[in-house]
Amino acid sequence: MRAALIGAGQIARQHLSCLKTLPAVQIAGVCDLSPAVAESIAERYGVPAWFTDHTAMLREVKPDVVHVTTPPTSHFRLAMDALQAGAHVLVEKPATATLAELEELLRYAAGQQLVLTEDYNYVFNHATREIARWVETGQLGAVVHVEVMMALNLFGPGGFADPNARHPALTLAGGALADFLPHLASLAHRFIGAHTRAHAIWTKRRASILPYDELHAVIEGAHATATLGFSATAQPDAFWLRVFGERAQASTNLFETRLTFERLRDGPKPLQPLLNGLEEARAVRRAAIGTLMRKFKPGPGTYDGMWHLISGTYTALAQRTPVPVPVEHVLEVNRMVEALKPREAES
C-alpha cells in the first residue's frame, strides 16, 4: 500500500519510523509547508518525493492511505482533500476542531467506502492492552470505574505556554488541554464505552497564556463510570490509568512501563495485602529497569501503542477487516470530548 503524510513535524516522524518497519507499505510522499522540513524528512526516511502543496502530492503520488499529522485546526480540510482523492485517512488526535466537522468527514468517507480513523495511541500501549486482556479473560471482573489522570508540565520553553509563538492548539476550545483530551477520553471509552452523562470542570492555577491548565471530569457509561483529569502543574509528569474491577484493580503509568495489579486471592485474608504488596514491588522494580532500558533500545519506546495501531490499521485495510479504531469508536470518543469541552460561560 502507498502511504503519504501531510505535516512532517515531531509526531510525523513517529509515524514514519513505524511505516519503515512495515514491509507491505511504501512511503510514497511527504508534505509540509516548510520546504526544508519536507525535504529533510524525505532525505532522512528515504521517501522518494516531497511537496509543500498537499493537493499536488495527492494528485501525483495517488496514495492509498494519508496520515494527517498537522496542527489540529487544519485537519478537516486536509482530511477531506485526502478522502476526495480516494485515500483512507489516519488523522492525528484531535481529529477535528469541532464534532460537526468530524461528522461531515465520516459521512463523506462512508459514502466513498473509505476509512477515516483517529490515532488513540495510548489505547494500544502494551499496558492498556494487558489490562484489557485481564478484563476479557475475567481476571479483573466487571469494570466498575476507570481513572485517567495526566500530569504534564506545559510551561517549559517552546511549549504550549510559550508567549513568543502561540501554539496552534491554543485556538481549540479549551486551549492546550484540548490537545490531550482525546487521549483521556479514548482510554475511558476503551473500558466503559460510550458516555451517557459527562461533566467537566476547567480551571486555571497559574498565570500564563493558557486559557486553562487544569481539567477534571466525571463520566457515566452504561455499566461503569470514569474520572478524567489533566494537570499542567502537578509534578512529576505521569499518565495514570487505573481500572477498578469486581475482582482486581489495575494501575499503570503510561509514560513508563509500570503496570501493577491488586487482586482478590484465595487463602487467609490478612495475607492478601502482603502478597499483593510483594507482587507489586516486583512489578515496580522490573518496570523501573524496563523504562530505563527502553530508552537505550531501538524501536517505538513510548510510542509502542502508535506502532501497534498503525500496523494493525494497514493489516485491516489490506484484509478488508475492521480497523483497530473503527468509525463508531471515533464518533463515540469525539462525542465524549464534545460533552467535556468548556461551556461558553467558562471560556
Binding site: 513535524g9 515531531q10 516522524r13 516548510s34 520546504p35 526544508a36 522540513v37 529533510s40 532525505e43 532522512r44 520553553p157 517552546g158 508567549p163 513568543n164 509563538a165 502561540r166 530508552k295 537505550f296 533500545k297 531501538p298 519506546g301
Partner: protein
Amino acid sequence: MRALVTGANGFLGRRVVAALLAQGHSVRALVRPATSVEEIGWPASVEVVRGDLRSARELAPAFDNVDVLVHLAAAVTGGEDAMFASTVSGTERLLTAMAGAACRRIVLASSFAVYDWSSIRGTLDESSPIESGADLYRRDGYTIAKSWQERVTRRFAAEHGWDLTVLRPGFIWGRDHGYLAACGQQIGRLHVVIGPFSHLPLTHVDNCADLFARAAADPRAAGQTFNVVDGPGERIWSYLGNHLKRSGEAGFRVPVPYTLVYGIVSLAFATVFKRNEKLPHVLVPCRFESRLKPLRYTNRRAAELLDWHPPFDYAECLRRSYS
C-alpha cells in the same frame, strides 16, 4: 551601515550588537515579543523590533533600510523537531521576507557542528568536509538544524544573488558560559576529562563578536566561509582547571585517554547497544567525536582575507569572563 541582527539578545547577539555599535554602525535588533530588553542596557540608538521567527507573519518591515542581515538566531535547547522548526523554518521565513527587500548582504552564524568530524584528520579548517546525507541524521538535533540552516541560507543567497558570509564559530565562551560540552563528563564534583591534552576550538564571545561585526562591513568577506577560533586553542585540562579555579566551583579533574574511551564507546555502540541512535550523545560515536575528537584548529583564513586577529588574548578573556 545599518544591520538587522536576529538573536540580538542572546549570548553572542548582545556582544555582536555592542561590536557593531563600537565600529560605528546602526543596529536594528530583532527580539522575541515577550523578551525584556531593558536590563541589557542598549543605547537609545538601537532600534528594537519584535518578532518570533517561528510564527511571525510579517517580517518584511524589519528589512526597511537595512544594508546587512546578521543572522544569529537559532534554538540551542528543546527537542530535535522543535529546534529544526525554530532554526530552519524560522530562517526560511526570515529570508523569504528579505527576498522582498533591498537588502542583499547576509552574515550567517553557522557552527563547527556542521563538519563531518568522523572523517577529518589533523587540522579542521574551512576546506574540511561537512556532514551530509544519511550520516547527518545520526548527529544531534542542534547539528541537524544548523546544517540545514546553512544549506537553506546558501540556497536563498544563490537564488537571489545575495552576498553571503558564513561564520562557523567553535565553542563560544565567556561570562556565565565557561563550562563547555567538550570539558568532558561531569558526575557530581568529579570531572572526567576525556583527552586532557586535546585542544579546544575556543572563541571568546568578545573576539567572536568582533569578527561578526568586521565581516558584516568588509566587502572582502562576501562569498566566503570562515571558521571562528581565537587560535590553536587551550588544552581541555588547563581550560577546565582555570574554569574551576576562577568560577569557585569545587571539583576534581580525572584524566582519561581519548582513544580508550572512544574505543569503548564504539565497541559498546556496535555490540550492546545495537547501533541504536536514541542513546545519550556521549554514547553515539559520531556525536562523541564532534565534541571531543582531538584535532587542530586555525583562524588563518580570517587573518589572511580580512586581516583579522582576535582583539583579546586568553589572559584578557579570562579576566573578562571571571572577574
